[in-house]
Symmetry: C2
Subunit: 136 residues, 2 copies
């Protein structure tokens, strides 16, 4: 099936104390620090109803990823058997979109403080969505 | 912050009996029919470890969406107060990526049958990720 490519335009970026690939925890719940979502001014209206306590999915663009990889050793550990990328959360995948479930700690203008976000400082944000019933 | 646009290259498409905007259920759990994820041949290796029973997030590109919308009446119901899009699951949003949590019913080659996928027939698929602990 022939489908056109589509263009992602970042809506903001992450501010985080995680700056190097080695320092990033493999999953947020293993202890990522608090971080900020900094929305671009032209889309900031879209977060006007976000509030402390909300649970959201943050979608990011993993701009350091390799896109030509279809199988990986999960968690970059060679002892884990090579696994198809769509059964892993590897950042290396054809469309390197990160999916992060986080809780909003505070909203200050177009800055949103969130808990347990596993993302490098400067990571582009592509979307924010509420978590709905059943964690969907 | 200046960030380049990024290019999404679909990895496949949805086959579904949902063909019109009006017919689409607003959330999968309200009763979407089974559907198929049809992976493109060049990325099919990435699903080699998917199996019946797996719970996955499917990310789609909502190619009929409007991208210039920052507030909507949730569920297209004018009785619902206008809400910033990042607090809704509206398909109209700056980067119209759909997020669908579904269960794999069967894998047949590069076709994956899934339960409760709310997506139009022909919707481009951009990623598939396992659901991990805590529904993340």
């Amino acid at each position: 099936m022939t489908t056109a490519p589509y263009e992602i335009r970042p809506i903001g970026h992450v501010e985080s104390s995680i700056t190097g690939r080695e320092a990033a925890p493999k999953q947020g719940f293993e202890g990522a620090p608090d971080a900020w979502l900094v929305l671009d001014a032209d889309v900031a209206e879209g977060i006007r109803d976000l509030a402390a306590g909300d649970e959201v999915f943050v979608l990011t663009w993993l701009h350091r990823a390799r896109r030509d990889v279809l199988a990986v050793h999960p968690r970059d550990d060679p002892r884990n058997p090579e696994t198809g990328v769509f059964s892993t959360r590897s950042q290396d995948r054809p469309n390197p979109i990160g999916l992060h479930r986080v809780r909003v700690a505070a909203v200050e203008g177009r800055r949103v403080r969130v808990r347990d976000l596993e993302a490098f400082d400067g990571t582009p944000i592509v979307d924010v969505k509420p978590v709905i019933a059943g964690g969907r």
